[in-house]
């Protein structure tokens, strides 16, 4: 099984090398691709020094476009499985291996790492979210569950593993604006098996969350529109070219 682990990174020069090293330790067989989303710091250089292949987008395109770049590469290069994790060090690479195990065993097409170990609980032993995040999580959880008729606890998780069916779908259709949540809806609608696996996540090492209350409200509003529109999108899996 050839595996690609890709890491979307935007100005993560401080943490990227450690994340790449961690992936190399936990998944020595996997190829590592860093998608540098128009970073203005030394992210790309650090990643290359750490031994990863780097795909640099010429300007910042947003997380969705960066992730799609990874899926596109995985599909074109004929990888059997792929996984991605955040570049800020919140996602322990050892946990990514557990997601990939589900793909290797063909128990699911797309596996999401959920930071909520106890499904249904808004927080876990390691993870204590802020109030606005908790509200957002609850709203998305409710509406995505309603839209897909499948239980999801961590709708915005950036730690995922996928097989070729998902690569084919996501490399063609992946919302650049609201990637995390819409991609789940899309995958379920296309009849793919999506599974959540509880994982351990760490507090972010540096920097603050981008979520202020006002932004959260806007984020939630946008998310609901995206979900609603998504329910009416035509279904079809494009044949692999």
């Amino acid at each position: 099984m050839r595996t690609l682990v890709f890491i979307p990174a935007w100005n993560e020069a401080d943490s990227i090398a450690a994340v790449i090293a961690g992936v190399g330790e936990s998944l020595p067989e996997a190829d590592v691709l860093v998608i540098d989303d128009g970073s203005t710091d030394a992210t790309a250089e650090r990643a290359r020094e750490a031994g990863a292949l780097v795909a640099s987008l010429p300007f910042n395109q947003g997380l969705g476009a960066a992730l799609q770049t990874g899926y596109l590469h995985a599909r074109r290069e004929g990888y059997d499985a792929c996984a991605h994790l955040d570049a800020d060090g919140q996602h322990p690479p050892a946990e990514v291996a557990r997601l990939l195990a589900e793909i290797y065993a063909d128990r699911a097409d797309l596996v999401i790492g959920s930071r909520y170990r106890d499904p249904g609980k808004a927080e876990s032993d390691d993870y204590k979210p802020t109030l606005s995040r908790r509200i957002g999580t609850g709203v998305f959880r409710f509406f995505l569950t309603l839209a897909t008729r499948q239980r999801f606890t961590d709708t915005t998780s950036g730690m995922r593993a996928a097989n070729r069916r998902v690569m084919t779908l996501f490399s063609e259709r992946y919302s650049p604006d609201f990637a995390e949540i819409e991609s789940l809806q899309l995958a379920v609608r296309e009849g793919l098996r999506v599974e959540e696996v509880p994982v351990r996540m760490l507090e972010r090492a540096g920097g603050t969350s981008f979520l202020t209350p006002l932004r959260s409200a806007f984020f939630i509003f946008k998310g609901l529109i995206v979900l609603m529109v998504g329910q009416f999108r035509p279904r079809h899996v494009e044949a692999e070219r």
Partner: protein
Amino acid sequence: MRGLVLTATDPKVHLTSQTRIIAAVLALAFMALVLELIRRDRLQERFSVVWFIAGLGMLVGAAFPGLLTVVADAMGVRDTNVALFSIVLLLLLGLALNFSVIMSRQAAQITRLAQERALEKAHEQARSGENGSEPKRERLES
């Protein structure tokens, strides 16, 4: 009172020759501006058609102001101003939406272009061997 209401909703369009000349000159100037933008490569021909039609419409309106009364009658509107404004507003709304659609398509194209270029760069890196890990590079090339 009754007479006041009647004059306020008089369906006839009264324009002095002066206003009609000014309107016609403005319409011609507008079309000249569109032409100039095309000439300087600031505007592509395929996006200019709609603006020429708009300019012609302005010119026709200036030449035959009575046409507006016909249009208002067809719409069942007594006030020609309402007819004019609602038509123009709807046209502009449609045009703005059309541009949003074009913008969305171009945004998608730009994203894909950026992705292609990024992956091309990654391939270059893999070939040139800047990447320290030998087996990974070989696998990627195969």
